[in-house]
């Protein structure tokens, strides 16, 4: 047996080797290069603190953070209501409804941006309806509201799947016991249902937040007025001289650290969630 396991370790290393080479060449070395390049501008290491020192970076970070938090909360509320409803009731057309709510999961962010244009653009649905009803034009696609709608669009499927999975493991006798003890529906929700859903909500909330912080495609498609971090990084990297380049690289790495840490903490607190697509 010892000779078998003696052969086993080199074999395992061999099995990991091809993936290891690819990861080293295209993930690890690039991330290290990014870290070094971010610190090699005129500001040196200080580039990593540009969120605090550069007013524009600070402003854009706060804007992105507020947007990401708002979207996360909205997606959690909407998906909890719809997900609990779908998990608790059986009715004709239920699976079609679930399919409609979850299949946009893997739409790329740039397509989600275009869907927002279909809703709130100059020839969008909201504009046509509001013109017919009130005579006013309603165009929201190219503002913070458009980004909010787009981010909500790609967040809902992610959360709904998690809520439904959590709700299915919920023991139905617990809310019934609470009810029989005289608890009202709000009390039952707050003290029985919500705590049981909490790990799933934390995990999917973290995914929403991280995706919204890093979403590039949606903002790009909307060519939006409000500056979110990925657009700031993109424009500084592509349009400006090398001096701004280093701070853009540092900012990209800081953003990556924020999103990675969010998901890491959530995973420690709340278990794994499904993630797909890149906003």
């Amino acid at each position: 047996m010892s000779s078998a396991s003696g052969r086993e370790t080199p074999r395992m290393v061999l099995m990991l080797l091809p993936a290891g080479i690819v990861l080293a060449a295209f993930l690890l070395v690039p991330l290290v290069r990014l870290a070094i390049a971010g610190a090699s501008g005129p500001d040196g290491i200080a580039a990593y603190f540009s969120i605090l020192t550069n007013p524009r970076h600070g402003h854009d970070t706060v804007m992105t953070f507020i947007l990401a938090v708002t979207v996360t909360l909205a997606a959690l509320v909407v998906s909890t209501i719809a997900g609990l409803f779908l998990a608790r009731h059986v009715f004709p057309g239920r699976s079609a409804l679930i399919a409609m709510l979850t299949f946009p999961l893997a739409f790329p962010g740039v397509v989600v941006g275009f869907l927002v244009i279909m809703l709130g653009g100059r020839q969008g649905l909201a504009n046509l309806v509001s013109k017919a009803l009130t005579g006013d034009r309603l165009v929201f696609a190219y503002s913070a509201a458009g980004l909010f709608v787009g981010y909500l669009y790609f967040s809902i499927p992610r959360v709904i799947l998690n809520v439904m999975a959590a709700a299915e493991t919920l023991d139905p006798s617990l809310p019934e016991a609470a009810r029989s003890l005289g608890a009202g529906p709000v009390r039952v929700f707050l003290s029985v249902t919500l705590p049981a859903l909490m790990p799933g909500l934390i995990a999917s909330g973290a995914i929403c937040f991280a995706t919204a912080m890093g979403a590039f495609g949606t903002a790009f498609a909307l060519a939006t007025d409000i500056a979110v971090l990925p657009m700031t990084i993109y424009t500084e990297f592509t349009l400006q001289a090398n001096i701004a380049g280093a701070s853009a690289l540092a900012l990209a790495l800081v953003l990556g650290l924020i999103t990675w840490a969010t998901l890491f903490i959530a995973r420690t607190l709340g278990g794994r969630g499904a993630a797909a697509g890149g906003g």
Binding site: M12, V13, L16, P18, A19, G20, V22, L23, F26, L27, V29, P30, L31, R33, L34, A37, A82, L84, F85, L86, H89, V90, F91, L97, L101, F103, P104, A106, P108, V110, V111, G113, F114, I117, M118, L119, Q123, L125, Y153, I156, E168, P172, M213, G214, A215, F216, G217, F220, P230, I233, L249, A252, L255, G256, T259, W260, A276, G277, G278, G279
Partner: protein, 267 residues
């Protein structure tokens, strides 16, 4: 789920809310599909239906569509060839080291594509012919999709007790390569399939990395989409989006079916 609740105000209220959310998810998709086959979207459906816009998209962007299909299958092949052996090693030797490796592989899920793309540009931007080829985009797609293949295969391998199966084959005299190809891979097949569907779907739709990595000669479908949103009329952008949906929706349906079958197997 377990028993028929009485259908009171709670049911109808919940149904109405859920229908509104579903409409929010579906209406823009239907609108964009319709706009792609309408003669003039501004005048509405009365202007008539046409496939001219789709034909125009094909004329302008066929190369991006073929390149995306090619890239998706190349990404699938590479993630399977490097991912399945790695998944095997990680599933057979769980521990802190395996967890650390898995965490590293999963970095591209957590870190925005923009940051990864900038790193790739810094590292490989000077490698002329590689930088100019579709292989550069392919490298990005491989690191972005590898975690999905790995997770999916590891999940199946952990659930099927590979060790016992393998010991059985070994006691019959099968060497390692033979065991790997005839016992391990076939038993992990549901995971490879589910992971593969995910890889193809994500590769076809990948934009964040690809936008930074592409050159004028290596545009993919989503890059073309962004280009058409910015510079083409709404009908062409919609027709192109429609083409994208026609490609991606069968994959998403297959993914949901595979997921449902997977859940049933575990019960």
């Amino acid at each position: 789920m377990r028993r028929g609740h009485p259908r009171g105000a709670g049911f109808w209220g919940g149904l109405a809310f859920t229908l509104v959310v579903a409409a929010f998810m579906i209406v823009p998709v239907v609108l964009s599909g319709l706009a792609g086959v309408t003669v003039n979207f501004f005048r509405g459906l009365e202007s008539g239906l046409t496939l001219d816009w789709v034909a125009e998209v094909w004329r302008l962007y066929a190369d991006t569509i073929w390149r995306s299909i090619w890239l998706a299958f190349a990404t699938l092949a590479i993630t399977a060839v490097i991912g399945v052996p790695a998944a095997y090693a990680l599933a057979r030797r769980p521990g802190p080291l395996a967890r650390a490796i898995e965490e590293t592989v999963a970095l591209p899920i957590a870190i925005p594509g923009l940051a990864l793309a900038l790193g790739l540009l810094l590292t490989w931007g000077g490698a002329g012919s590689f930088r100019m080829s579709s292989g550069f985009v392919l490298a990005g797609h491989v690191i972005y999709t590898l975690p999905f293949m790995l997770r999916s295969v590891i999940a199946v391998m952990v659930a099927t007790d590979m060790k016992t199966l393998e010991e059985g084959a070994a006691s019959l005299g099968a060497g390692f390569l033979r065991r790997f190809l005839t016992v391990i891979v076939p038993n992990a097949w549901p995971g490879v399939l589910a992971g593969g569907l995910m890889v193809v779907t994500l590769s076809i739709g990948e934009f964040n990395l690809t936008w930074m990595l592409h050159t004028p000669l290596t545009k993919t479908l989503p890059v073309g989409l962004a280009d058409s949103y910015a510079s083409m009329r709404l009908e062409i952008a919609s027709a192109y989006t429609l083409v994208f949906f026609v490609m991606i929706v069968p994959l998403l349906v297959a993914m949901q079916l595979a997921g449902r079958r997977g859940r049933k197997d575990h019960r």
